[in-house]
Structures are given as C-alpha cells and as structure tokens.
C-alpha cells in the first residue's frame, strides 16, 4: 500500500461521505438543486408566535416530524439525518457501528420555557420561584430534563446511535463551531489517533428566546417582507443575518485507508487555520488581522499559496460589519486578484445556521468542487460600492474548482478557515 503524506509529512485526510439538511431540504440532492437554483429556504416563522418581535423570519427546518419541540431534540434529529446520509455514502462500518471517533458541534442549550412552566406547575406553589421548581425537580418525574439539557447529551446519544468509537466530542466555538469540529477530526487523523472520524455540525435552536437574544444585539435583519430577501450578503442594504437551522456531516478518512478499501473520494480537507481575536466580544478587530491570519494559516497548512485558491465560500453573514471586514481581509490575503476571485455566501439562501454553519458550508464547498458549479449569492440587487467582489451574483455558474477556502468567523474572537481540494493529492 502506498503511503500518501502531505507537504508536512502528515497523513492526507479525505472526505468519503457527505450529509446535509437545511431549510432547502433533506439530503445532498435537494440541497444542491435548491442552492444552485438560487432558491431561499428563509420564510416567515410559524414555530412560535412572533408578536412583538422585530424579526419574524428564519430558515427553520419545519418539514420533519416534531417531537417534544425542544432545541436539543431538533438538533439531534438534524444531526442524525445528516450523519446517516454521510455514513451511508462512505460505505464504512455497519449500522450502529461506525469505526471512528465523533467530533460534533452542538448548540449550547438551556432548560426551555415549557419545562420551566411544567416544573412551576408541578410545584403546586403560586408564585413558584426557583426553589419551588427545585423541589418539583426532586420528584424524580423530570429526569428527562437532565438528560436533554446537559451539554454533552446530543453528542452522547449520537455516539450511541451510530456506534462511534472513543469519547464523543461536543464543541462550541460560536459561529465557527462546525469548522472546528472538522478541524479537530482532521487533526486526530493526522496524529494517527483514528483513521476515520465523523464530523458533524448541527443547529436546531431557533426559538423565541434565542431569536430575541440576537435581536437585542441588533444582529438580525429586520427586513421581514418578503422573507426570502432578508439575507443579502455583500449588498449595500444588508442589515443583519437571518437565523437558520440545519446540519452538515462529513466522514473524514485517512486517504490511504480510503484508497485501500476502494472508497469513492469526494475531496480532501487539505488545510485548517485559526486565529483568536481579543478586540471585542462581538466585533472583530478593525484591521481584520485575525481573519487574515486565519485564512493565511489555512492556505499554508494546505501546502498551497493564495493563487491556487479558486473560490471562497464566504462567512458572508449579511451583517454590515462582517461582510465589510471579510471583504477587506480577503483583499489583504489575495491582493489584486480578489476582484476576480469568486466568493459567494450560502447564507443568502439557507440563512446563518450558526453552530452548524461551518459544517453545512463545508458540505457545499465539497459539492462545489464535485459539480464544478459555483452557488450564487442571491438577493444581490444593490451592490455595496465599498465591497468590490465577484459575489457570483444571483445566478450560479460553472467553473473549474480545485481548491476552496471556507471561512467561519464567530463571536468571542473565533476565526476558523478550512481549505478543501479535489482529489488526487498533488
């Protein structure tokens, strides 16, 4: 068996399975069709009342059977569908026996209002304070609340369902969580700790309170009508992001392991780069340095130079600040070439899937390479003269793509960038 190594002497990490669910639909085919048709999955929220809210639209996933209606349950459901699709595609293992480790980006969760209300009622006290709810919790009838809302619960149950090996990892790096899950999976394979890893990013947490939290930070678009035009990355009239839900799953595999079993190889995770930002809790450094360094680190880690990147899958949230900062940072990395280098934002169609975004966009990046077609940035009607970019406006187009840079930037100074390339390895 030949032993492939990257330019740094590390095992090469192939992708042999992809799975995805977003507001555009379930599965690779529906999603790719919707994405390249420029269709939006954003719609008026009907999961909860939007009375009195400034934002009333989101890219929620509403086509699945609803269980208890909680965020962790939907996040788990979305992850299960994406993982199942990815594992099936990879042909690895047997049902319930996946031969590798789990790296999972899961949204932070808290006990939700229906549960608090149930505890308050069960306390028999009126008014009921936390002490009353605590007494009710001790009844033993609310064990499900513990298991559902412990942060490790979603990954624990996902590990159990798919039979992944080792200690399941739950990650939270805000809006770059999905990319971080892939990064840690890649690192584990490069270190030889596992030959196969399942990386998932999932988020089913659009609820009144989560939406209000972002709303109070003035992060969300309030242009609710029509809903499908609210997310407009890089446009002059962009006014915030639109919350979205979904999950992306990737089967990562040591390239030689995949070759040896004759697996179809979708692409390579060639590079990962990250850089922290200590400027502010929600805003990025005005000079863009952390984003620039993260992109450069990913490209270097891939053993490439900027000229070899054919397309950028943007973080592109549609907030005034992100899009400006991302454009400036890309210009610093790619120079003059940035005017011609295509960059588009999937978030214009599926919204910002938050914890899942890095994984959802990784799936789209790999499908972009596989299909040789660039998904557009829709709702691009009013270009921002301060952002001169080829955003693949409104309509998908064919292009030969061998290397994609995918950006993820999050609250708390998280900047994680990934580089995906086509097989074969150079």
């Amino acid at each position: 068996m030949s032993t492939h190594r990257d330019k740094f002497g590390r095992p090469v990490v192939a992708v042999t399975g992809l799975g995805i669910v977003t507001s555009l639909g379930q599965g690779r085919d529906d999603n790719w069709k919707g994405l390249t048709a420029g269709r939006s999955g954003v719609h008026a929220i009907n999961r909860f009342s939007t009375v009195g809210l400034r934002t009333t639209v989101a890219g929620t996933v509403d086509f699945l059977p609803r269980g208890d209606g909680s965020s962790p349950e939907l996040s788990e459901q979305l992850a299960t569908l994406a993982a199942d699709e990815a594992i099936t595609m990879s042909g690895l293992g047997r049902k319930g026996d996946f031969p590798g480790e789990l790296f999972m980006a899961v949204p932070p969760v808290e006990v939700e209002w229906p549960d608090r209300l149930a505890l308050a009622k069960a306390s028999g006290r009126e008014p009921a304070d936390y002490d009353a709810m605590l007494a009710a919790a001790e009844s033993g009838r609310f064990h499900v609340i513990h298991d559902r809302f412990m942060f490790g619960g979603v990954a624990e149950r996902t590990a159990e369902r798919f039979g992944t090996k080792g200690s399941p990892i739950s990650l939270s790096t805000a809006c770059s969580s999905g990319a971080t899950a892939i990064q840690l999976g890649v690192e584990a394979i490069r270190r030889g700790e596992t030959q196969v890893a399942l990386a998932i990013g999932t988020d089913g947490s659009v609820q009144a309170e989560s939406l209000i939290r972002f709303s109070l930070l003035s992060a969300l678009s309030t242009q609710n009508d029509p809903p499908q035009e609210a997310a407009k990355p890089f446009s002059k009239n962009r006014d915030g992001f639109v919350m979205g839900e979904g999950a992306g799953a990737l089967v990562l595999e040591d390239y030689d392991h995949a070759l040896a079993r004759g697996a179809a190889i979708i692409g390579i995770v060639a590079g990962c780069g990250e850089k922290g930002d200590g400027f502010h809790r929600t805003r990025s450094s005005p000079d863009g340095r952390p984003a620039i360094l993260a992109m450069q680190a990913a490209i270097v880690d891939a053993g490439l130079v900027p000229d070899q990147i054919d397309y950028i899958n943007a973080h592109g949230t549609s907030t005034p600040e992100n899009d400006k900062m991302e454009c400036m940072s890309c210009r610093a990395v790619f120079g003059e070439r940035m005017s011609r280098l295509p960059i588009s934002s999937n978030k214009s169609m599926v919204g910002h899937t938050l914890t899942a975004a890095g994984a959802v966009e990784a799936v789209f990046s790999l499908l972009t390479i596989a299909h040789g077609r660039l998904p557009p940035t829709i709702n691009y009607k009013l270009p921002d003269p301060a952002i001169e970019l080829d955003v693949v406006p409104n309509v998908a187009r064919d292009a030969k793509v061998r290397a994609v840079l995918s950006n993820s930037f999050g609250f708390g100074g998280q900047n994680t960038c990934l580089v995906f390339t086509a097989e074969p390895v150079s």
Binding site: F48, V51, P108, D129, Y130, H143, S167, S172, T416
Partner: protein, 380 residues
Amino acid sequence: MASLHRVAITGIGLVSSLGEGVEPHRAALKSGAPPVVDTQAFAPYPVHVMAPLELEKQIPKKSDQRQMEPWQRIGVYAAGLALDDAGLKGDAAALDRLEMFVAAGGGERDHQVDDAIVNGLRTAADPAAFLNERLMKDLRPTLFLAQLPNLLAGNISIVHGVTGGSCSFMGEEQAGVDALRLAVGRIASGQSDTILVGAAYNAERRDMLLLLAAGGNLRKEPSFAPVFAPERGGMITGSVGAFLLLEAAELAAKRGARVRAEIAGVRAGRARREQGAVASEFRRLIGALGSFGANSLGLSAASGVAPWSGEEREAAADALAHAPIHASGDVLGHAMEAAFPAAVALAAAMIDAGDAKEALVTGAGHWRGEGAAKLIAPGR
C-alpha cells in the same frame, strides 16, 4: 499517537472556596481540614462557595468585569493566575501565539427574570405574546454573551490577550478530560508548543442545581459528607476555576520555566452506564497509561454519585496498590467541567512539592464519560 514531545505543566491557576493558588489547596488535601461549605444559602443542597476574590488583580477593567457573569470571572481569574505562574503574563508575543482549550458550561440564567416570566406565563391571556414582550424588555443583551460557552475563552482573549486560537469543549466533566487530552495530543505531536487548558464552574446557581436535581444527582442533606463516604448520597457542587499552562518540555527548558510536573498520558472513555462497566472502562484506560511506581498518589475527580464514583475508586486503587487516593471534591466540591482540570492541577502541585513522583488522576462524570491521566515528576 506519535509522541515527539514531552508535555510539561509550567503554570497552574487555581481558585475555589479555599482561596487562590495551589498552596491552600494542597495543604487542605494533606491535612484533611474541614472544607468551606455553605449549607444554608442553597438548602437543602450544600455548596462549596467561592472565596471572595479581588477581581481587579486579574481583571483590571470594571467594564470587563461587568461584561461577564460569575463563571466567566472565575475562569478569567484562574487563567490569569496560570499565566502569572508560567511567567507569560504580559508577554505579548507569546500570548499572541498561545492557544486555548477550554471546557465550558455556560447558560447562566437571570433568576429574577425567569421567576417573573414563569409565573406570568401561568396566567397570561396570550402566553406567547407575553413571553416575547417580557424577554424583549427584561433580557440583558450582555447576559447572552455570558451564556455562550466559548465566551469564557473570548474573555480570556480580551482580558489577558491570549489570541492564538481557542476551542471550547462542552459536555460536563468529560469536556474537561477531552480538552486536556486533545491539548496534550497537539503538543506531543508537535502541532503546538503552548496551550492554556482549563475550565470554570460557578456552583452558586439555582438554574444549574435545577438541572442536576432533575437527574437526581445532588446530596440533599444540609451538611458535608466526603465524596467516597457511604452516606454521601450524590454531588456536592463547588465553585472552581482551574487552568493549566501546558508547554513542550524543550520550550520550557529553553526559556528556563519551572516545570511542576509532566503529563505522560491522558485517556478518555465512554462506558455504558451499567453496574460494573465504569470499573472495567477505568481498568482499560488506566492500563493504557502504564504502571505506577511505589511513590505514587491518586487523585480522583469523582462526583460522589453512586455507583460510578465507587467503581472509579476501585479501579484506581487496583492500579495504585497501597498509594493514597485523594478526592479533589472533598476540598473543592464537585466542579463539573472544571473537576478534572482541577484534580490534575492538584496532582501537579503535589508532585512539585515532592509528595509523590507519579500521580494517577481519574474522573467519572456524574452521568457519562470517564477520564484518566498520568502525571510524572519532571525529567531532566
């Protein structure tokens, strides 16, 4: 795993009910002095409450303090202590490269707001509209940033200038194990040379007690009982901040840093929680760490939840023969995400003080996850 580099602990930041720094903690563990437990404030639940902190010493700006909730302040404070201990505080170039692996909970609630809303919901004519209205009016925007797990790392970046990149692990006790395990993996393989690893837990929260009570995990007697005592009856939680500065041994030697201990290995497992399964998982994990010599000690981060804590202890005792096993929870309380990092910090402090040459640190999560680490006295 390709282990190219030895991993040294060159900084420890520890803060708890016993105060700050390693000494009061090591002394308490050795003397068996009574812990600092408040049996009234959260009755019937005893809680190891945080010692008063002079926040200004580690978080100089009041504006930064205001932007954080207690768990983040505890963590940023402890991280600062670790950086001080390692001699890296203020070394802008080193901090700009320094990475962070943080085990984080988060989700702190505003209890007054929750109480008011939950009662209002019971009588509101239109509960959904009422919920929206109250949340829009009553939620503090900054509270959200205290609820995000990765904002502990974010605040450490802002306050201490640690900006090499960060990864936050969730998942209660096991998050602390995995954060340490993967940080050690990064340094051992040569991918990184310095990583700040740790966690913080604020036990003085009814929202968190509620979650644990729902699972039937808490000791409900308003008095202290040791972790492994038969009458323990569940967890006694404690507020703790614990951070470690991990460094490639060559780098530590080059810059003349004081090495308190080396981490020879970290293992993490996932046993199905059935009688006996936790003990056998620990035997497997501990076995993979190699054998322990005569001059060893055990440190357990056990929660006190039966039967898992007992199974953990049984496996550790088998591996350690006659060596003593200390429960970090006896002095700190159980600190969830911070439990394992704090136990490792205590073990490193004891090795540094010459109490032992080797240490086995174990920790069974209260409902999932098992971790074990081997610490050794620094090599030459």
